[in-house]
Symmetry: none
Subunit: 196 residues, 4 copies
DNA sequence: TATGAATGAGTCTTCATTCAT
DNA sequence: AATGAATGAAGACTCATTCAT
């Protein structure tokens, strides 16, 4: 498929995303996607052969755009506490995300066919990546005496489990911004050494 | 419905549970349930009008059986640390549960139709109940000088988020028993004051 | 499925037969059969899951009705020549059959999926059965001095190949009754010893 | 269409042949042919408008190449028995042919749309041609005293029906080379006069 | 109460065929 | 001449749901 199709591909992915955000993963049919794409049934099949394939691509494209989002103004001298706050703010955004949120779809996707190793691996790699970034911040912060954190890796893992927990809670039982803030604050307080 | 039907009701719920454990929530059809119940299509409709209704009842019946499971031997003198360990052991069992596990189905159920307030309320009440129990243990433990825990409620909430996080991680990316143990140990270590 | 369905089963087979007679095997869709059965799409699937299954049953039911069709008046004293004529007349009927003729469908069916051993076996058993009957007639006739036929088995096989050949020729290139008669006569002449 | 297209035409026919050999006639779609031709969908339509048209051409091109294949060494003095053996060997090859065999496709083609007179005529002309050749051999052989064959035409027709029968049997029920040999031998034995 | 045959809507998927380039 | 994207029709198959018994 040539260049023109690459455009359409992206367009389909963009439109399909809204469907997944609205209906989750399992409930989405090729027809749903056809409907929002203003395309013929057969036309969609030229590009993708199943909702699963489409969703996989959406996940991948999300991943691509995710890297190096560190906002400007970050230098070597930026306090690690600030980086931590930035990181958690990012997590908070994900936890509470409403618009264009495919987290529920992603959960359903990862639930599906639990035999599939590939899915598991993808999910884990995403999680591990976040743990690693956070552990890096904590470790450096501990070295600089900003944080109390004897085991950065364990702390980071624990925090990420909490974040995951909040993410799922936000989507199953509702979670106010206030509650998220409190919990994140509680986490930070357990780490940061007060300037005495 | 008379008494005889009550028996059949329970039977249907029992059989349906295995289906939900295997296929999650969304993928389950009335036919699936008919198939494992050795009942007629029309017959099932006499008792339940949708998989959703059935699953709701399963959740409710689970809840009933859940209370007061404190094992024998617990007295007023039992160390809170022991109770905590007991509590966490229970959580660990849920996190790693494989057999007859309807957690994935429950997630899908709570995802479905996010407009439904009732679901949210149910999910939250379950979560809050656990937090309350845990907070009780922590508070009492703090009073007795077993734990360092200035804010029992916040701590309990945080722990339960972690537990939720592990639960979902176990089902999306796989989670070894070892990892769960480490994380639970890490939580305990952050709470328990060493006997000096 | 109870008794009532057995009726419907037969009815479907009867109607489907006309479709196969008209369109052969490969071209027949479940929809075609639904259309002549005055039944719903789903309804048909309650009884059969594919045109193939239906056709297989038609073949089987044909086989059942085929046995012991020896017309009355046959006694131990009936000349073998008469039996031979009877046999060939039966073959002629099949060769030239027009109404409700599923021979073409059967050919297509046996062509399909040449890997399938079962089909081959069925086709061969039908052929072998005919050869055996014919060989029996020839052998007995030879014993009685009616026929000249040193190798009844080989002769019977050869004749049945001719019959098969005429059958296929009748369906691919057309074959007049006259031609069939001539050929059958030629066969008989080669066998029967003239009363001198 | 110019010369360049004539090349492509042949190329398409050659490639399509393999498809027909593999899938028969009815099951072959324009897409199948496009796929093995490394040509565009639209491109194929410039040359042929349906699988049927393509198959028709394949049959015609086969016919062209078929004539005058008498191997060298045949002179006016060659015994007719040898020619007969040659002829039957050729038939045997066709009966048992596996590689690049479009016989099944041809049967299906001739079955299709039995209204079509043209097909019938083509099939018959092929058959008649073979009969004529064979009858010529038998007649000449009879004249020369090699064969016993009072009615060459009838004998030839009968033999060709047998050959047709074996051809179809080979493709529906399987036929060992051994069986074919036996049958052909049986035919020859019925014709050839032993040198006394 | 209980049955299970029957319906029909909904989705999937594949192709023949067209058409702008 | 040639391409291949796009369309839409056709058929497969599965269920939720009803209904006569």
């Amino acid at each position: 498929m040539g260049e023109k199709s690459e455009q359409k591909r992206s367009y389909i992915l963009k439109q399909a995303r809204t469907v997944f955000a609205e209906k989750g993963f399992k409930a989405v049919t090729m027809k749903d996607i056809v409907d929002v794409c203003d395309i013929s049934r057969g036309g969609l099949y030229l590009y993708f052969k199943s909702p699963e394939e489409i969703f996989r691509e959406i996940l991948l494209s999300d991943q691509d755009g995710e890297e190096g989002e560190l906002p400007g103004g970050i230098t070597r001298d930026t306090p690690m506490a600030d980086l931590l706050m930035l990181f958690l703010k990012e997590q908070k955004k994900e936890i509470l995300r409403k618009k264009d949120d495919i987290a529920v779809a992603a959960y359903e996707f990862f639930f599906a066919d639990r035999a599939e190793k590939k899915q598991e691996d993808y999910a884990r790699s995403q999680f591990d990546k976040a743990v690693k970034v956070l552990a890096g911040i904590l470790e450096e912060g501990a070295l600089r005496g900003e944080f109390y954190c004897p085991d950065a890796r364990a702390a980071a893992t624990g925090i990420m489990y909490s974040v995951e927990g909040m993410k799922i809670c936000a989507r199953t039982m509702g979670l106010s911004e206030n509650k998220v803030d409190r919990q994140l604050l509680y986490i930070v307080e357990g780490l940061v050494l007060e300037d005495s």
